[in-house]
């Protein structure tokens, strides 16, 4: 009898007079043990907290996209209606490079902050 057939025989609950049959019986019994690892007691709470946080972040992302779209729409409408020529806009329109630099600087600063803050959080 091959070893594979012996495994099947023991699994089927048939007795075996071979030495290996006895060893397999004890082994199969031992294999039923659960691994020692168990999740922590507040495991479900932690999962739910992560879900809530993720959903909050998703809401915030939509809010940020909404604000960004509104600002873009405002800029486009200002350009289309040539409103840049009145009031404070007439001053800003004189320095387009400065405006672009200011916006880019804020965005880069924000991106770097997020990147390094995330790394710092992960490290700690």
């Amino acid at each position: 009898m091959t070893d594979e057939e012996l495994q099947h025989q023991i699994e089927a609950g048939q007795p075996s007079n071979q030495e290996d049959g006895d060893v397999y019986q004890r082994l199969f019994q031992a294999l039923k043990q659960e691994p020692a690892f168990h999740v922590s007691l507040p495991f479900a709470d932690r999962v739910l907290a992560r879900i809530e946080k993720k959903e909050e972040q998703r809401d915030f992302r939509w809010l940020a996209i909404g604000i960004a779209l509104t600002v873009i729409a405002l800029i486009v409408s200002l350009i289309l209606t040539q409103a840049f020529t009145t009031g404070v806009f007439s001053f800003i329109s004189g320095y387009p490079g400065l405006v672009v630099f200011g916006i880019s600087f804020i965005l880069i600063l924000h991106a770097l902050d997020r990147k390094y803050l995330k790394k710092y959080k992960e490290a700690s």
């Binding site: 070893d3 594979e4 495994q7 030495e19 290996d20 060893v23 397999y24 004890r26 082994l27 199969f28 019994q29 031992a30 294999l31 039923k32 043990q33 659960e34 691994p35 020692a36 690892f37 168990h38 999740v39 922590s40 495991f43 479900a44 932690r46 999962v47 739910l48 992560r50 879900i51 993720k54």
Partner: protein, 186 residues
């Protein structure tokens, strides 16, 4: 006990308590899968959490083609395997003979062999097996899943699943036999 369809419907309707019930029902299964695949103790809990986050996100795609537990085990298995691949850990390499030998030769032979000791020895030997072998042993012997269920979870052909199971049990049997022989000789 609430059935899977009703439970899933409740979770999808936004019932957080229902999802807590789902976690409680399957945390052992996910814990077993992840702990058998992942050696680093500190990674296990977080990976288990990741699995349930994925379950929550993908639950709407679950079509009841299989049991809910099989589907969750599939997510756990794939998440664990992906984690190992990212860390470039080999998932099917057969263990070095010496690493398996260590547990047999360094046991305190003066102690009598109680069932508990054998259980402990088997657990230690299982830890030395490649992740996929460990996962298959767990699904078959601890979770008592069928071959088609294990095939669905692992994505491996049935022949491979049977072969891995046979090889793992054969190796463990040889080591246990060696250990028992040593005990009897004393």
């Amino acid at each position: 006990m609430i059935d899977d369809k009703a439970l899933v419907a409740q979770v999808l309707s936004g019932d957080r308590h229902a999802f807590r019930v789902l976690i409680k029902q399957h945390e052992r299964l996910v814990g077993h899968m992840i702990s058998r695949l992942i050696d680093r103790h500190e990674d296990r809990e977080e990976l288990c959490q990741d699995v349930f986050l994925k379950v929550y996100e993908k639950l709407g795609e679950f079509t009841f083609q299989s049991k809910l537990s099989t589907w969750i085990a599939t997510i756990a298995y794939r998440h664990g395997i992906n984690h190992l691949r990212k860390r470039k850990i080999e998932i099917t390499n057969w263990p070095e003979e010496e690493s398996m030998e260590r547990f047999v030769t360094t046991e305190d032979a003066s102690e009598t062999l109680a069932e508990k000791e054998l259980d402990q020895l088997v657990l230690q030997l299982i830890e030395k097996l490649p992740p996929q072998y460990k996962a298959i042993l767990t699904l078959y012997h601890v979770q008592e899943m069928t071959y088609p269920e294990i095939v669905e979870i692992t994505g491996l052909p049935e022949g491979t699943v049977k072969n891995y199971l046979f090889r793992a049990r054969h190796l463990l049997k040889e080591k246990v036999k060696q250990y028992l022989g040593k005990e009897a000789a004393l």
